[in-house]
Amino acid sequence: MKNSDSNIEKLFNIKILGSGTQPVLFAHGYGCDQNMWRFVYPHFEENYKIILFDYIGAGKSDLSAYSKTKYDSLQGYADDIIKICAHLNLKDAIFVGHSVSSMIGVLAINKEPSLFSKMVLIGPSPRYINDKDYKGGFEESDIQELLHTLDSNYLGWSKAMAPVIMGNEDRPELGEELSNSFCTTDPEIAKNFARVTFLSDNRKDLKLLDVPCLILQCRKDIIAPLEVGQYTAKSIKNSSLKILEATGHCPNLSAPQETSEAIKEFLQT
């Protein structure tokens, strides 16, 4: 076990930033990588220790470490969170998870209760597929359609992802070399992750959670509709639900200011 430790930072492309001591672990969601937090984490640099990482198969993680069996369920990803925290000696950290990472974080703390003292779940959904009275927002066939879209975009994706040499006049901070290097995911892994994410059911796991939780819910989020946010809040004992002005599924990108303020407010209480 020890010998693999030195590789962990490379394995998950771990970045440690900020000048504070209280650690905040930012966990990205399905479809992108740690770049998701690009506009949010700067708000926390002054007072917190920031930990960014990419899940195996996403961003600049070590793709060769991907295993279809291990990542056949969200628990595989949760175990990686535990591994990262153990490696960095994190205890009572603050967990900020976007989208599917919310549930990954829940699975991690349920297995290792001392990991986090507080959790922020952005656009969480314990189950995406409708089930009798439960409204997740999707039918199973919708997920098949997503997989199909991913398939048809192999060509389109590669084009969108191909490194285009162009200056980022509007965003000089990105630099040339970064263009088109965001959110790159191996197509096969992206499909597996989609399947694991959208077919998961973690409703039972919410009930086990016992740390203070903030649920950030966007208006008009088709991935995690308001009803799902309310269900999640009701299932977690010690939780509060905040509905953001932002729309869509990625307030961390579309409304970073509002998102950051909501998190800060929660952390200060």
Binding site: G29, Y30, G31, C32, N35, M36, R38, S99, F138, D142, I143, Q144, E145, L146, L147, H148, T149, L150, S152, N153, L155, G156, W157, K159, A160, V164, N168, D170, R171, L174, L178, S179, N180, F182, C183, F198, K220, D221, I222, I223, A246, T247, G248, H249, C250, L253, S254
Partner: protein, 664 residues
């Protein structure tokens, strides 16, 4: 004033043209806010989608125009990417028209940053790629079809080849055995023809299998120590016979500085050289064929060897030099008629060299000759390998001493053939027709080496081997697998099952001999002191027959004949009569041989009688004959034991002769 007015008019005109172009451009355009809400759409796109502008503007969001899968994709991939890099190019979406039909759209999006009071917005262009989508779908379908066809073809080829290899094993085996029996000149010619044809058929089937494996990328290079001197020596010996028959010269020039021990894939090198040298001899009528091996460059660890095969044959016309490397291609139709062959050898050699990162080059002059050249880099080995004793292999006269072999095969023909070989080499054996029988035999008898067929019904070879290993015997027997697959394919499974080595079916007797030689000493305990006794002792022969005596056997059976006669009584009668005649004469020969103490005569008799006794399953008689021979051979002959054996044997003869006369 006038001028100014006209400029203004021009500007207005231009603006109108631009707006018109925007509205009716050959591509769709859509503008939307940060939350996806559409605030403008051009005419083209509205018409494509079957909506009026009013139904869209300020009412619909961009993702709401997509199918549900596309919406998830938009939220999880597309939107983050626009947010992060400010643009996105050519992403495919199914856009849903008002009538619910689908427009296959390719979408580009650009972020328009906030300026003064105007908030940040996005502008998207939509290209109708329905044509491209259909082409792609068609191409994809065609590609999948072609791939699955090609796979089906390869599978078929592989299955058929395996199926052919199994009976071929029997043909080749019987051919070999037949060749060694006393035959008249005509029969000898027939037997040789049979042998040559089956060898040819085997090489054809092997080539097909190799090719299908190369195509399926199932071939991998091995890295083992080998002796390149040995390899070239064996090639020389193999081919000089054929060359001599054709009246041409076969030479091997091995440069003195070629390092003897290398690390690489000797099997594939041998295959390449065999193909090239075989071809050279085939196409040469007068003159010579030369294989030369020389050092191109050498470092401490590595050596680049140049291999060259030159002949003085018919040559290849320059315009055909390229096509000879293609599958099933020979320089001309006439070539095929005159020289035969499949035209696969060169293709395979070329592909095997590609695996080595090397290339086969050819130069040729019509009616002067051809030269094939290639270069391979090998690591040098510091291991000194045991030299293969070719003379032992050649003579097949090694004394295997006390070695006890167990044959396991569900196919009686295969058991029969292997038994014949073992007999010839004076090796003791037991046989089992199933894995289950083999297991029970192993627990009862000391077995040093097991020849195990992999494909058996119920308990297959792998399972049998695993079960044998699970017995945890004190003396672990060597397990050698027989199968119609070649080693590369099954290697991992073999190791897993605890199988030590592998002999592909069909095999030449020499291959079996070699593998037995290689493994006979692996288990030091199993060698026993008896190996110092030069000839088989009586005691040992008795031991050999023991297991069969334990289970009382019927003297003979007619099942095989009945099956062969296929419900035609006249055939059955014929079979019986001819066997009866044969047995009467065998009995005479037997007694003659005993009286004359003639080992050769009794050996000839055993050979002569094999097929007849095989067909009527007269195993006890077969055993008795062999035991009689062993007794004759024994140095300290025990006359009384021999007499008993002779009586027993004659009794057995009479039982069968009577049986054949009576049984109907």
């Amino acid at each position: 004033m006038n001028k100014k007015q006209s400029t203004k008019g021009q500007d207005l005109h231009r603006l109108k043209a631009a707006l018109d172009l925007y509205d009716n451009a050959p591509c769709g355009s859509i503008c939307f806010h940060n939350d996806g809400l559409i605030f403008d759409i051009n005419n083209t796109l509205a018409v494509w989608l079957g909506f009026t502008k009013e139904e869209i503007i300020n009412k619909r969001t961009l993702p709401s125009l997509f199918k549900i899968g596309g919406q998830i994709f938009f939220e999880t991939h597309f939107f983050p990417l626009i947010k992060l890099q400010g643009f996105i190019k050519e992403v495919y979406f199914d856009v849903v028209r008002k009538d619910k039909s689908v427009l296959h759209g390719l979408i580009n999006v650009r972020e328009i940053p906030a300026q003064d009071d105007a908030p940040l917005t996005y502008q998207a262009t939509v290209l109708d790629m329905s044509d491209r989508w259909h082409f792609e779908a068609e191409l994809l379908k065609a590609k999948q079809q072609a791939e699955s066809d090609s796979k089906a073809k390869a599978d078929f080829l592989s299955t058929i080849s395996h199926e052919i290899r199994t009976p071929l094993n029997a043909i080749l085996g019987i051919g070999n055995l037949l060749h060694k029996t006393p035959l008249n000149k005509n029969q000898k010619d027939y037997a040789r023809l049979l042998l040559h044809s089956s060898e040819h058929l085997l090489s054809l089937v092997n080539n097909l299998l190799d090719l299908s494996k190369i195509e399926a990328r199932k071939f991998e290079l091995e890295h083992v120590d080998f002796d390149v001197f040995d390899l070239s020596k064996i090639l020389e010996q193999t081919f000089s016979v054929r060359a001599k028959e054709k009246g041409i010269e076969m030479r091997v020039d091995l440069d003195t500085d070629v390092p003897r021990y290398l690390i690489g894939d000797p099997v594939k090198l041998n295959q390449i050289l065999t193909n090239l040298v075989g071809n050279a001899i085939k196409f040469t009528k007068i003159g010579s064929v030369t294989l030369s091996i020389s050092v191109a460059k050498m470092s401490k660890q590595e050596v680049y060897l140049d291999f060259k095969v030159a002949d003085t044959g018919i040559g290849i016309p320059s315009e055909k030099l390229e096509s000879i490397f293609q599958e099933f291609s020979q320089a001309s139709y006439d070539v095929n008629v005159e020289f035969g062959g499949t035209g696969l050898g060169l293709t395979i050699s070329k592909k095997l060299l590609e695996l080595h990162g090397s290339k086969l080059s050819v130069s040729s002059k019509l009616n002067v000759g051809s030269k094939f050249k290639f270069r391979i880099c090998y690591k040098k080995s510091d291991k000194v390998l045991a030299k293969k004793d070719l003379s032992i292999l050649e003579s097949e006269k090694h004394d295997f001493g006390d070695l006890m072999v167990l044959l396991v095969d569900d196919n009686p023909a295969n058991i029969f053939i292997a038994e014949q070989y073992l007999e010839q080499w004076n090796i003791s054996y037991l046989s089992a027709e199933s894995g289950k029988k083999a297991l029970s035999m192993i627990t009862k008898h000391k077995v040093d080496l097991i020849l195990l067929d992999l494909q058996m019904p119920k308990m297959d070879g792998y399972e049998t081997a695993k079960n044998i290993r699970d017995l945890k015997l004190n003396m672990k027997p060597v397990i050698i697998a027989f199968s119609a697959s070649t080693k590369g394919e099954v290697n991992e499974q073999l190791m897993e099952a605890g199988i030590d080595d592998h002999l592909p079916k069909p095999f030449q007797p020499k291959q079996l001999y070699e593998i037995l030689l290689r493994h006979q000493n692996v288990n030091p305990q199993s060698q026993g002191q008896l190996s110092s006794i030069p000839k088989k002792s009586l005691k040992k022969s008795m031991k050999k027959s023991n297991p069969k005596l334990n289970t009382p056997k019927v003297s003979f059976k007619l099942d095989r004949y009945i099956k062969m006669a296929n419900n035609k009584p006249e055939y059955l009668k014929k079979f019986k009569l001819s066997t009866l005649d044969a047995l009467i004469s065998y009995q005479k020969d037997y007694n003659k041989a005993i009286v004359k103490n003639d080992i050769k005569m009794i050996s000839d008799l055993i050979h002569k009688s094999t097929m007849s006794l095989y067909y009527i399953e007269a195993d006890p008689l077969t055993e008795l004959l062999m035991e009689s021979r062993s007794m004759l051979q024994a140095e300290n002959k025990d006359e009384s034991l021999l007499n008993d054996k002779v009586t027993e044997c004659n009794k057995e003869f009479i039982i069968i002769i009577n049986g054949l006369t009576e049984k109907d």
